[in-house]
């Protein structure tokens, strides 16, 4: 379906999130959208999919002007959207999830839904059990489910807002295949991402946004440096890696044994030095998150020890881990990291040490302003966190972490950040390492793992590799390990 956007304009108070954007996407196209954090990408997508309304502007589908006020209306017109932050999934089965949103009669036809699901799964090579509970699916599987659901509802325009941030490499390849197939069938795909290499291999054309405006378009062959310049108005290069010298063990893991309903991992041993960065690699759901949460005291290990600063904390509460200087930064920003409905200032008050009983608001606002400047958060002290763009939420989340902690456990530190911000965030994190902090992080971005880690643990099929030296490992080697090749048994 051909999608035309004409003069779309949107203000949020004083923020001009979309400034008279006009673009045309022919049917059968995969349209890439690039832009720094807060450029207005998600806003435009939400307008197209009915989650918010534009102040002014016209949307045409196949040349016909349409009015879209709600997501329901959008899907009725054939527009479906996958969100940047996966919406809360209710505790229900896969089939029910499909059926719930369907327009049909009062009594939904489950059999029909299951049959349709099966057919779609076969076509794209997905393997989701219709009877599984949605909450047990990995992020990647949820995403597949969501795509199937939208297709089943009759979507002919598919919008994906940063779809690859939480999924494994193989799931990503599968996703790309799917998108290509859909485009070949005449569907229109809009793909928002910060990952240039993905956009470059996948998209038939690219639009670049900056501060609410569309500042340029590109067609293959793409020139990466050109795209970066369009996005930021300047060229960007990666910092040089600066490994730490001597080892002063801060965090020790001995014969650690962790398990959940799907996975059992035995005998993890690790000694992390002061100032060291450890990357945890693996496909989504291979146990790296469970391991990280065990280090934070959020999950109890089945056996073994966790030692922080020579103190054995195994079995202790999260609070005692925090007291020992451990902090945990979750991946799902709005579900676990930030509190919707509270302002930035209020977040800083909560995150910082309590001084007395009564809050000194002025001081808190001042500190918030400092952090906003320091972390380039696009927002004001009184802005509610849910009104920040995805990338700015991530910056806020990192800014909130206390200065005095020396073990930082981070899930996907740069998920949703544009390149410039990623580099900048890592420079901040590295600066902390210089001051003696230790970082253990999860990422699905191989480049990030290799570039910023000192050592990497790879999780696969209930096993954990020996720590790899990041400096001497290549992307290919790491990719193979993640895929299970060459893992010692």
């Amino acid at each position: 379906m051909k999608v035309e956007l004409q003069q779309i304009d949107k203000h949020f108070g004083s923020v001009h999130a979309n400034d008279h954007i006009t673009m045309t996407i022919p049917a059968g196209t995969i349209q890439g959208i690039l832009g720094e954090n807060g450029a207005g990408k998600s806003t435009l997508m939400k307008i197209l999919s009915g989650f918010i309304q534009a102040d002014s502007g016209v949307i045409k589908l196949d040349g016909k002007k349409v009015v879209i006020h709600t997501p329901d209306q959008a899907i009725h017109h054939g527009i479906g959207m996958l969100h940047q932050d996966p919406l809360d999934f209710p505790p229900m089965r896969v089939v029910d999830n499909l059926v719930v949103g369907s327009p049909g009669g009062l009594v939904p036809n489950k059999k029909e839904a299951i049959a349709a699901l099966k057919k779609l799964q076969e076509r794209f090579g997905f393997q989701i059990d219709p009877d599984a509970y949605v909450e047990t699916l990995t992020v990647g599987e949820r995403q597949q489910l969501e795509i199937l659901r939208l297709l089943w509802l009759g979507a002919r325009v598919l919008i994906l807002d940063e779809p690859t941030t939480g999924i494994s490499a193989s799931q990503r390849l599968k996703l790309f295949d799917t998108l290509r197939k859909l485009a070949a069938d005449g569907m229109t795909v809009i793909f928002v991402s910060h990952k240039l290499e993905e956009v470059e291999v996948l998209c038939h054309r690219i639009a670049v946004f900056q501060r609410g405006r569309m500042v340029g378009e590109a067609k293959p062959p793409y020139v990466t440096t050109k795209l970066v310049e369009m996005m930021f108005g300047k060229a960007i290069t990666l910092d040089e890696r600066a490994p730490c010298a001597t080892c002063d063990p801060v965090l020790k893991v001995e014969h650690l044994e962790v398990e959940d309903t799907r996975l059992h991992i035995c005998d993890i041993n690790l000694e992390v030095c002061r100032g060291e960065v450890i990357g945890l690699a693996g496909m989504e759901g291979s146990g790296q998150r469970m391991f990280l949460r065990t280090l934070a005291g959020l999950t109890r290990p089945v056996g073994g020890k966790v030692i922080v600063h020579d103190k054995t904390l195994t079995g202790k509460t999260y609070a005692s881990f925090r007291k020992a200087g451990v902090t945990y930064v979750p991946a799902s920003r709005l579900e676990e990291g930030l509190i919707s409905g509270l302002s930035l200032t209020e977040h800083f008050i909560l995150a910082r040490e309590q001084k007395g009983f009564i809050i000194n608001r002025d001081a808190a606002v001042k500190e918030t302003e400092e952090n906003i400047d320091q972390f380039f958060i696009r927002g004001k002290p009184e802005t509610h966190v849910e009104a920040l763009s995805g990338g700015n939420q991530q910056r806020a989340l990192l800014a909130l972490q206390r200065q005095d902690v020396d073990v930082l456990l981070i899930e996907h530190p740069t998920r949703g950040l544009d390149i410039e911000s990623s580099i900048w965030i890592w420079s901040k994190l590295k600066a902390r390492c210089q001051l003696g902090a230790t970082i253990v992080f999860i990422s699905s971005d191989l480049e990030e793992l290799l570039h910023y880690s000192d050592r990497i643990l790879v999780f696969f099929g209930g096993k954990v590799s020996e720590p790899l030296d990041a400096g001497t490992t290549t992307v290919d080697q790491l990719g193979q390990l993640i895929g299970g090749l060459g893992m010692k048994s």
């Binding site: 309304q53 925090r322 945990y328 979750p330 919707s340 509270l342 909560l350 309590q354 809050i359």
Partner: protein
């Protein structure tokens, strides 16, 4: 500029909500064959015509505002403390209990009343802690737990009145034997209003306003209410805060119960809570959980309660009409708020 215009729009919606609520109630009145304006006039007359009525409104206001204050705390923490009715009752029961134990002693009455109040706070807090423990440690939704505990508290009240605390030889729905007048809160000449309880009501809402607006404690409660998982990861012990919210709310409910005993009924009666728990929930909803509005809305509701007494006397109308109006106000304000948000969104 867009800011002020949206504020005016908001105002317009509020007016709309109030008018709709009045319209809705009027239609109901017309359906039962009454004259709406006459009914409203009688309500206003019954609430404000003289000092006597105004003081009666304040007599209702005090427990209502205390209950609303307590509920603001649990609401902020994301908890529906529907067990509030039982907590008021237990506050009253504990107050009566303490005062019965002490009434024949030589302790000065002021002290007995004071102990009664403390006991009431304790009773409310314990009952709330029970609901809290069921929720926090037992995983029982506080709505179901609260309903159950309300039921138990009613049974307990009735049992006490007809059992251990019955009047000599007689069980009576009118309650236990009234306390000696020396154990009544002193009332302003000729009225039923005690300045002490009035002061307590004002103090209560001020304290809650202060806790929620200005303290770390209050902000943490809000954080737990809005996102317990994130709050926990930020290092807030969510279980303890939920328990604290329940207990604090129970303290306020218990105070309301103590006021009902020492200032209004001077004994334990079967429906000692007077339904202020549920009414308080409406107040809290109507003020959108902001403490600043609670005293005013509570006053309005109290005025409706007292004013509507005129309806059966003068117009032979059921006084539950005030309840209809109160419910309609909450409904329409919430409704219009939703509509307003949609409209502002579209713009």
């Amino acid at each position: 500029m867009p800011k002020t215009s949206s504020r005016w729009l908001g105002l317009l919606f509020q007016v709309g909500a109030v008018l709709l609520a009045l319209l809705f109630t009027s239609i109901i009145l017309l359906l039962v064959g009454a004259k709406p304006f006459q009914a409203y006039e009688r309500i206003i007359y019954g609430a404000f015509s003289d000092m006597g009525h105004i003081s009666d409104v304040l007599v209702v206001w005090v427990p209502l505002v205390l209950v609303s204050a307590g509920l603001l705390i649990t609401y902020s923490t994301g908890l529906w403390n529907i067990g509030i009715e039982g907590q008021i009752a237990l506050g009253a029961i504990f107050t009566v209990w303490a005062m019965r134990l002490l009434q024949d002693s030589s302790i000065p009455p002021v002290l007995i009343i004071l102990v009664g109040f403390l006991a009431g706070m304790l009773g409310g807090a314990l009952w709330a802690a029970l609901a809290g423990a069921l929720r926090v440690f037992g995983g029982v939704n506080e709505i179901f737990g609260g309903l159950g505990l309300n039921f138990v508290s009613t049974a307990l009240t009735i049992w006490l009145i007809f059992g251990p605390w019955k009047r000599p030889g007689v069980g009576s729905m009118s309650g236990t034997v009234p306390f000696d007048t020396s154990l009544w809160l002193p009332m302003v000449g000729g009225s039923r209003l005690s300045l002490w309880s009035l002061g307590l009501g004002i103090l209560g809402i001020v304290v809650v306003y202060f806790i929620l607006q200005g303290t770390y404690f209050g902000l943490r409660l809000k954080a737990v209410g809005k996102n317990p998982r994130a709050a926990f990861l930020m290092g807030i012990p969510t279980s303890s805060y939920m328990m604290l919210a329940f207990i604090l709310c129970g303290v306020f409910a218990g105070l309301a119960g103590a006021v009902q005993v020492t200032g209004v009924y001077h004994r334990l009666i079967p429906s000692i809570s007077s339904g202020y728990g549920f009414l308080g929930m409406l107040v809290a909803m109507l003020v959108n959980y902001q403490a600043i509005g609670a005293p005013f809305v509570a006053f309005l509701f109290a005025a409706l309660n007292i004013g509507s007494i005129q309806l059966p006397i003068d117009l032979k109308l059921d006084s539950t009409l005030s309840g209809v109006l109160q419910g309609a106000l909450v409904l329409f304000v919430l409704l219009m708020d939703g509509v307003r948000r949609r409209v502002l969104h579209k713009k």
